[in-house]
């Protein structure tokens, strides 16, 4: 956003005042702040999770280790898996992740959450009417499919391992990773196959 001090909202001014005071007091440097931001802009995001998913799809042993303990993401050079729990969606079992109390989210694999994940609507509704929520996301599950909602109330973080879509047998791990969406790893969507010509993945 273009910087216009005349238009600077009060929240921006308060943040600037805090940064300025904390720099003076030696708690941080402007460079450290810049660096932290660009680190997330650069390489966190849902790409890491997509790599994990693709690996689990092509390597059954890795998938077993991953479902056993999220720390297996270290095999892909990813850190922070000690508190990660990966849950697997199947044709009969559907998992969905929420944080009703605040906004807990698996940053280590998915980066920062989208605003809807932090919205009051999602936080309030996912635990009491998960099928209605999934319907709003365009996902209508069969009545027979069990729905498991994970409310992240501690430092455990949940990532959904979505179902591998049909028609992807020939794809490479890198090509598979490109199919995996953030929403599928939260559990509000399925992964569409490469022939799918619907809505662009979010």
């Amino acid at each position: 956003m273009p910087y216009d001090p005349e238009q600077e909202p009060y929240v921006a001014l308060r943040t600037k005042a805090l940064e300025s005071l904390l720099i003076e007091k030696g708690l941080l440097s402007a460079e450290a702040v810049d660096e932290r931001i660009s680190e997330y802009e650069r390489d966190i995001g849902p790409l890491k999770g997509a790599r994990v998913v693709a690996r689990a799809w092509v390597e059954p042993d890795f998938k077993a280790r991953l479902l056993q303990h999220g720390a297996a993401i270290a095999e892909l050079g990813l850190t922070g898996g000690d508190n990660l729990v990966v849950v697997e969606n199947t044709p009969d079992e559907h998992h969905l992740v929420v944080c009703t109390l605040c906004s807990c989210y698996p940053w280590m694999v998915l980066g920062l959450p989208p605003t809807w994940y932090k919205s009051f609507a999602y936080r309030s509704r996912a635990v009491i009417e998960p099928r209605a929520v999934l319907h709003e996301f365009g996902l209508d599950l069969d009545e027979g499919v069990a729905v498991h909602v994970h409310d992240s109330s501690a430092e455990v973080r949940y990532m959904v391992l979505p179902e591998r879509p049909p028609g992807t047998e020939e794809l490479t791990e890198v090509e598979l990773a490109a199919l995996v969406t953030r929403d599928a790893m939260i559990g509000v969507a399925k992964v569409a196959g490469p022939v799918h010509q619907g809505v662009a993945p979010v």
Partner: protein, 219 residues
């Protein structure tokens, strides 16, 4: 605390609104606040639990009308002042100064080493009282301070689904009363136990709950 932040099962918040091609941050100040908060947190000036409590203690109407990062801002200011890192007067004066001199550069002092991490006298975490498959009841507690036991699960029966090591106890840690780690469990609750007959028969909610939140179910 029984606050508006404890939203699980609430009605009235409308449909879930999604933003197409959402940016990582919606304004520069959000990105800077996010980074500053993380840096200060990681240095141990206050805890993630205090960060959360700082949001929960917002005046309820303010909580509901504030944006996500406005809630972070409210908590960050509260915790910095609460911990004696800043004073309210200092902050107000700096805001006023920056309002009048928007282009002033911040004086970059030499950065001292961060303070030694706080030492909390710590006993070893107790052994888990429950095993996978055990029937438990989430306690009916209503603490005025921070807690991670949502209201919708209190008094409800569940099953130990998984053990997840020992974790710092947020109910004390948020208030500077020690880390007091406890065994943490993933507890499965049938949706009908939580919400009654209107919930589907094949739905369950899982919560990550500390040992002292739970009691053995009377059989």
């Amino acid at each position: 605390m029984n606050g508006v932040h404890d939203m699980g099962g609430m009605h009235g918040f409308g449909p879930i609104v999604r933003e197409v091609n959402e940016p990582l941050f919606h304004a520069d100040w959000e990105a800077r606040l996010w980074a500053i908060d993380r840096i200060v947190l990681q240095q141990g000036y206050f805890t993630i639990d205090a960060h959360r409590y700082g949001i929960e203690r917002m005046e309820p109407a303010h909580y509901l009308r504030a944006s996500y990062y406005e809630r972070w801002l409210a908590s960050f200011e509260y915790n910095l002042i609460h911990e004696g890192i800043l004073t309210d007067d200092e902050l107000r004066a700096r805001i006023e100064f920056l309002r009048r001199h928007p282009d002033s550069a911040t004086r970059q002092d030499a950065i001292p080493a961060p303070p030694a991490p706080r030492e909390h006298p710590q006993s070893p975490p107790p052994a888990p009282r429950f095993a996978v498959g055990d029937s438990v009841v989430a306690r009916n507690i209503h603490p005025v301070g921070h807690t991670r036991l949502p209201r919708y699960a209190r008094g409800k029966h569940g099953t130990i689904h998984r053990l997840h090591g020992s974790h710092i106890f947020p109910d004390t840690n948020a208030h500077g009363l020690g880390e007091n780690p406890q065994p943490l469990y993933i507890v499965r609750f049938e949706a009908r136990e939580l919400w009654g007959d209107s919930a589907g028969p094949r739905e369950a909610v899982y919560l990550d709950l500390w040992d002292s939140y739970l009691e053995p179910a009377r059989s």
